[in-house]
C-alpha cells in the first residue's frame, strides 16, 4: 500500500551552525510526521535541538551562521526546503504559524494589537482594514480577552504576559493554519497563567482543528497537551510514541532517567527527604559529536556496543527508539 501523503513529513533533517569553535550540529537527522488535527509534543533539554527543528521547518534559520544541510520538510507533499522565499512567506503565518516563548519580543511594541492582527489577515487573505479589524475583535474574543472591542486599540505594553501570549495565539490562528508550532509557549508565564493558556490552547484546537507541534522542556505540559511525544537528545530523536506509552513505559534509558529526575508533586509522602534520581554528567556537546549513542556517557546501561552507529528502530506499534540495548 503506498504511503498516504502526510500533512507534514520531516525526513532526515540536519541543521548546523558555524562557530569559531567548530560546526555545532544542532539537528542531526530528525524525521517525524504530523497528521491533521493531532498534537505532537517534542520534549528535550537545552541543546537537544527541539527549537532548531521547529525553526528549520519554517526555514527561520539565519544563514550564516546556520545551514540546513540535509533532509526535507514536506507540507502536503511539497518540500518546503526546495521552495523560493515568496512561497515560504505565503506559508508562514498562514498555513503554518508559530508562537514563541517570549510574547513581549514577538509583538511589535509600536503597533496596537488590533493592527498587528489585522495586518496578518490583510497580507494573507486580502481583507480590507475594516474587515481585518472586525475579525481581530472576533479573534481576541476567541482567545478570551475581556472586552475585545477596547483591547484591540491597546499596545502590547498595556498587557500582561498572559494577555500578550493570548494575542500571539490569536495572531497565529488568524488565518486558520493547518499547523501551529508552539515553542515553549507557557515557559515564561506564571503557573496559574500557564494553566489558563494550556486550557485555551486545548479549547481552540478543537475549534480550529489545527495540528499542533508543541515544543517544550516541561514534561508536565507535554503530558497535559500531547497525543504523541517525540523525545530529543543531542540533536536526534531518541524515542517516539504515544503519550501513554512514553510516560507509562519509557523505553530509552534517557527518557526513563528524565522522568525519574523530575520532582513530582505529591511524591514526597514519608517524613524526611529523599534524593532525586539524577542523570550524571553534562548535556552532550554538539561540536565534534562522536559516533554512536550520544547519551552513552551518562547511561547506566552503556556498553562497548553503544559506540557504533545506532539507528532509530521500530519498537512495536508506531513506537520508535534509538537504543541498541532495547531493540
Amino acid at each position: 500500500m503506498p504511503e498516504a501523503i502526510k500533512l507534514l513529513q520531516v525526513s532526515g533533517l540536519r541543521t548546523e551552525f558555524r562557530t569559531p569553535a567548530g560546526a555545532v550540529q544542532a539537528v542531526r537527522g530528525v524525521s517525524f510526521g504530523l497528521d491533521p488535527g493531532e498534537t505532537v509534543g517534542i520534549v528535550g533539554e537545552s541543546g537537544s535541538g527541539k527549537s532548531v527543528t521547529a525553526l528549520t521547518i519554517l526555514r527561520l534559520i539565519k544563514s550564516p551562521p546556520g545551514r540546513i544541510s540535509a533532509g526535507s520538510v514536506k507540507f502536503r507533499g511539497i518540500d518546503l526546503l526546495a521552495q523560493d522565499d515568496a512561497y515560504m512567506r505565503s506559508i508562514r503565518g498562514n498555513r503554518i504559524s508559530m508562537i514563541f516563548q517570549e510574547p513581549m519580543t514577538s509583538l511589535n511594541p509600536l503597533m496596537t494589537v488590533g493592527d498587528q492582527l489585522a495586518e496578518v489577515m490583510q497580507w494573507h487573505q486580502n481583507l480590507s482594514r475594516r474587515e481585518g479589524m472586525n475579525r481581530a475583535i472576533e479573534l481576541l474574543r476567541k482567545v478570551q480577552i475581556p472586552s475585545p472591542e477596547k483591547r484591540v486599540r491597546d499596545y502590547p505594553h498595556h498587557m500582561s504576559g498572559g494577555m500578550r501570549q493570548r494575542v500571539m495565539i490569536a495572531i497565529a490562528l488568524a488565518c486558520d493554519p493547518a499547523i501551529l508550532i508552539a515553542d515553549e509557549p507557557t515557559t515564561a508565564l506564571d503557573v496559574t497563567i500557564q494553566s489558563q493558556i494550556m486550557d485555551l490552547m486545548l479549547g481552540l484546537k478543537d475549534e480550529f482543528g489545527s495540528a499542533v507541534l508543541m515544543i517544550t522542556h516541561d514534561l508536565g505540559v507535554i503530558a497535559e497537551m500531547a497525543q504523541r511525544v517525540i523525545v530529543m537528545y543531542a540533536g536526534q530523536v531518541v524515542e517516539a510514541g504515544s503519550v501513554y506509552e512514553i510516560f507509562d513505559e519509557p523505553l530509552h534509558p534517557y527518557t526513563q532517567a528524565l522522568l525519574r529526575s523530575v520532582p513530582k508533586l505529591g511524591s514526597r509522602t514519608e517524613k524526611g527527604r529523599h534524593r532525586l534520581q539524577e542523570i550524571p554528567g553534562l548535556v552532550a556537546s554538539l561540536i565534534n559529536i562522536p559516533d554512536g549513542c550520544a547519551f552513552r556517557e551518562r547511561c547506566r546501561f552503556a556498553g562497548p556496543e553503544c559506540n557504533g552507529a545506532i539507528e532509530l528502530q521500530a519498537a512495536g506499534d508506531g513506537r520508535m527508539v534509538r537504543c541498541i540495548k532495547v531493540a
Partner: protein
C-alpha cells in the same frame, strides 16, 4: 583562542600593523631620518621636489620633508596618547562615581557631561588655547581635559548594568569592601568598551592637534608637527604640493590605523561576539 580571534579580525590586524609602524617610526626617528629635521636647513636647496636624496622633497627653508614627517610622528602620537590617558582617567573615575554612588553625584556629573557635550570640542579647545597661548604642552591640556564626556557616560552606563548583576550582589553578601567591589568586580567589566573609545579618541585628538597647529596654535616652529607643516604649506600648495601631500598622508594613514584598530577592538570585545564563541 583569543589570539586566533585577533588574527581573524582584519581591521584589528591591519590597524594594529599601521599603529605599530608609526610607533616604531616615532621611537627610532633619529636613526631612520637622513637629515636633522630642524638644523639641516639649506636655503640653496629650498622647495626641491621629491628626489632620491630628498624622498619627500624639501620645504621653503630647504629642510628634508621626509625627516620632518618622521619626527612629526612624535608630536602626533604624544598628543594622542597623553590626551587619551588623561581623558580616560577622568572619564572612568567620574563615570564610576556617578554610576556607583548615584543620586547627587550622578546628577552633578551627568549635568556636567551634558554641558560639555553641547560644546564642540574644537570650540572648547580653541577657547583654552587662546587663554593659555600656543604650544604643545597647552595642546595636551586643551585636548586632555575636554574630551572625556563619552568615556564618562559609557562608564556610567556599564557600571549601572554591572552593579545590578548577581555577582556584585554576591560580593556584597560575602562582605567585600566598596573599594574592592568598585575596582575588583565592576571596573574590569567596564574597561573593554572604554578602550575602544580611547583608541578612537586618540585618532580624534591627532586630527584636532593638526587642526590647532594648522591654525598656528599647536607645536611652535621649528618643531616638526604634521599640522604645522600643513599650515606652512598652505601658500605653496600649487608650486610645491609635496609640502602638503606628505604630512597630509601621514595624518590620514595614522588616523585610519587607529580607527581600524578601534573598530576591530569593538568587534572582539562586543559581548555578543564573545557569546557566539561559547
Amino acid at each position: 583562542m583569543t589570539m586566533n580571534r585577533v588574527f581573524h579580525q582584519k581591521n584589528l590586524f591591519f590597524g594594529g600593523l599601521i599603529i605599530a609602524l608609526v610607533i616604531l617610526i616615532a621611537a627610532f626617528a633619529p636613526l631612520i631620518a637622513p637629515f636633522d629635521p630642524v638644523n639641516d636647513a639649506d636655503l640653496m636647496n629650498a622647495e626641491l621636489p621629491p628626489s632620491a636624496s630628498h624622498l619627500f622633497g624639501t620645504d621653503s627653508s630647504g629642510r628634508d620633508v621626509f625627516s620632518r614627517v618622521l619626527y612629526g610622528a612624535r608630536v602626533s602620537l604624544s598628543v594622542g596618547l597623553i590626551t587619551q590617558i588623561a581623558n580616560t582617567i577622568i572619564g572612568v573615575s567620574l563615570g564610576l562615581v556617578a554610576g556607583y554612588f548615584g543620586r547627587f553625584w550622578d546628577e552633578l556629573i551627568m549635568g556636567t557631561t551634558n554641558i560639555m557635550l553641547s560644546i564642540p570640542v574644537i570650540v572648547f579647545a580653541l577657547a583654552i588655547m587662546s587663554a593659555l597661548g600656543p604650544g604643545l604642552f597647552n595642546i595636551y591640556l586643551a585636548l586632555g581635559l575636554t574630551n572625556w564626556s563619552y568615556t564618562c557616560r559609557l562608564t556610567r552606563a556599564q557600571v549601572l548594568s554591572v552593579k545590578k548583576s548577581d555577582y556584585v550582589n554576591a560580593a556584597v553578601v560575602l562582605g567585600y569592601s566598596k573599594t574592592s567591589i568598585i575596582f575588583g568586580q565592576i571596573m574590569p567589566n567596564v574597561l573593554g568598551p572604554v578602550l575602544v573609545i580611547a583608541t578612537l579618541g586618540c585618532a580624534e585628538a591627532i586630527l584636532m592637534e593638526a587642526a590647532l597647529s594648522f591654525l598656528g596654535l599647536g607645536a611652535q616652529p621649528p618643531m616638526p608637527s604634521w599640522g604645522g607643516m600643513l599650515s606652512s604649506a598652505r601658500d605653496l600648495f600649487f608650486t610645491a604640493p609635496w609640502l602638503a601631500i606628505f604630512p597630509g598622508l601621514a595624518i590620514f594613514v595614522t588616523v585610519l590605523g587607529l580607527n581600524l584598530f578601534g573598530d576591530g577592538l569593538r568587534d572582539i570585545l562586543d559581548p555578543r561576539s564573545v557569546l557566539k564563541n561559547t
